[in-house]
């Protein structure tokens, strides 16, 4: 039962060979075998999202995958973004909006947002809010996170590059109905059109 498996996987552009027990979760392998400790563990049952990474480009819970399942996969963690000296635009937006306090949930939110914005560069703020609701933060009240991601998305859209045109899947996707909670809170369906700045 304690057999070890030799796996190869790509993490942040580097190929790794790892010898892991079958039951070792991917997040433990990333943190403790590869010593990439930026990805955090918050619940080990897929709800809090502190361990969110990109698996083949899509945000996924690293606590809900066994390392053996990651064989041949392309993994990206927070360490693949910018450095303290040269943070990427999303990291800068998080800092500018004070979208982190204790910072424990932050890598998960960054990777969630990176994956989401790559697929949905034209996401509206309410779509961003729905996407961001995948992860838990106990410090910020979420508003700064939503605004940081929205701000980053806007700036990316303004920048020249391939992300400027909505893709076909994106066009289809914007019709996704939001839950009743958000729909009811949308302007025109309950709120007076009030200026939000005093």
């Amino acid at each position: 039962m304690s057999e070890q498996h030799l796996i190869t996987l790509t993490v942040n552009g580097h190929d790794h060979e790892l010898l892991v027990a079958a039951r070792r979760t991917l997040v433990d392998a990333i943190r403790h075998d590869l010593r990439l400790t930026g990805t955090h563990v918050g619940c080990e049952h897929g709800v809090c999202g502190a361990c969110t990474i990109l698996v083949d480009g899509a945000p996924a819970r690293a606590c809900l995958m066994f390392a053996v399942q990651a064989e041949g996969r392309d993994i990206r963690t927070v360490e693949s973004l910018g450095s303290p000296e040269a943070p990427n635009d999303l990291q800068r937006a998080f800092s500018e909006h004070h979208a982190l306090q204790c910072g424990f949930c932050t890598p998960g939110f960054l990777m969630l947002a990176e994956g989401f914005l790559t697929e949905h560069p034209h996401a509206t703020k309410s779509e961003i809010r729905a996407a961001v609701s995948a992860n838990l933060c106990r410090c910020t009240g979420y508003q700064p996170i939503v605004e940081a991601v929205d701000d980053c998305a806007r700036k990316r859209r303004c920048a020249p590059g391939p992300a400027a045109a909505p893709s076909a899947t994106q066009a289809a996707d914007t019709t996704t109905p939001a839950g009743p909670a958000r729909a009811a809170a949308d302007p025109g369906h309950g709120q007076p059109d009030t200026p939000r700045s005093p």
């Binding site: 049952h45 399942q69 939001a178």
Partner: protein, 286 residues
């Protein structure tokens, strides 16, 4: 919260997977997307001695139009369905739209249609859609055997199905288009398992409702059809708020929901009524 030890087997093809399942017996579990199984293993609520990983069986990852029917491979992820607008078309828009209710983006990226059906959570969207739309599930057994199980016969009780331990769900087939169908649900917190989920498929002739199907999740150990509510829809009346309210009231009256931490039976009943009304209106508006 680390899982108990297990032996890991990676299947190369469907026959290989079923052969492994046959060989390993009841101690083995199929690992697809793992989004339901792995949390249970981390809590050690599930402790299979063997896991058969079917994650590489790419032949099970497909969405295929087959005449008026739609076939979805068991390994197709929720996210793939969510972004398959073109393949699904307006006929199966309900499937695409329902995906926004399945957990959150990261769960949808790995969680699979077949895994969801096999897990058989009574509030799961795929279970409810299968029951609503008379889907059938294709399972492969040992030595190349294959059978089809009607959704109505698939779910036995809490988290249990009629799929045998040596069988593998390979595909789910939705037999006919459902252009006027909708699924909606309520949970206290966005992305959670529904307290109650409701799905409706209306047969419309102009603005007259000729019939329809109504299904509910979270009100019984398995997803259920609300037959009395469907009777109301079969009366052939013009679609109206009153008709839908009557339909919803009939459903609320015929179910026998449990008390749960989310609320007592009466609360579930009221919720079912509200959600069916909403689902009817959404279906009508499609």
């Amino acid at each position: 919260m680390k899982p108990a030890a297990f032996a890991y087997h990676r299947a190369r093809d469907v026959d290989g997977a079923t052969a492994l399942l046959a060989e390993l017996g009841a101690d083995a579990k199929v690992l697809a997307g793992g989004q339901s199984l792995v949390p249970m293993m981390n809590f050690r609520l599930a402790r299979p001695r063997h896991l058969v990983d079917i994650g590489r069986l790419h032949e099970l990852n497909h969405i295929t139009r087959d005449g008026s029917a739609l076939r979805i491979g068991a390994l197709t992820t929720h996210h793939t369905v969510e972004t398959a607008g073109r393949q699904l078309g307006p006929e199966f828009e309900v499937l695409r739209a329902a995906m926004s209710w399945v957990g959150h983006t990261p769960i949808r990226a790995l969680g699979t249609v077949g895994g969801s059906l096999a897990h058989a959570d009574a509030t799961a969207e795929w279970c409810l859609l299968a029951v609503l739309l008379d889907a059938s599930v294709t399972v492969r057994g040992p030595c190349g055997s294959q059978r089809s199980i009607a959704a109505a016969d698939l779910f036995l009780g809490f988290y249990t199905t009629t799929v045998e331990p040596d069988e593998l769900i390979t595909e789910v087939t939705f037999p006919r288009p459902a252009p006027r169908a909708a699924l909606t649900e309520f949970a206290e917190r966005h992305g959670d398992f529904a307290t109650v989920a409701a799905a409706v498929d209306l047969d419309l002739d102009g603005d007259t409702v000729r019939g329809g199907r109504v299904a509910l999740g979270g009100v019984a150990p398995v997803p259920v059809r609300a037959r009395a509510a469907e009777e109301v829809l079969r009366r052939g009346e013009v679609a109206s708020v009153d008709l839908f309210a009557e339909c919803a009231a009939a459903a609320a009256a015929e179910i026998d929901p449990p008390d749960t931490p989310n609320g007592d039976a009466a609360y579930h009943r009221n919720l079912a009524r509200d959600l069916i009304e909403r689902a009817c209106e959404e279906a009508l508006a499609r």
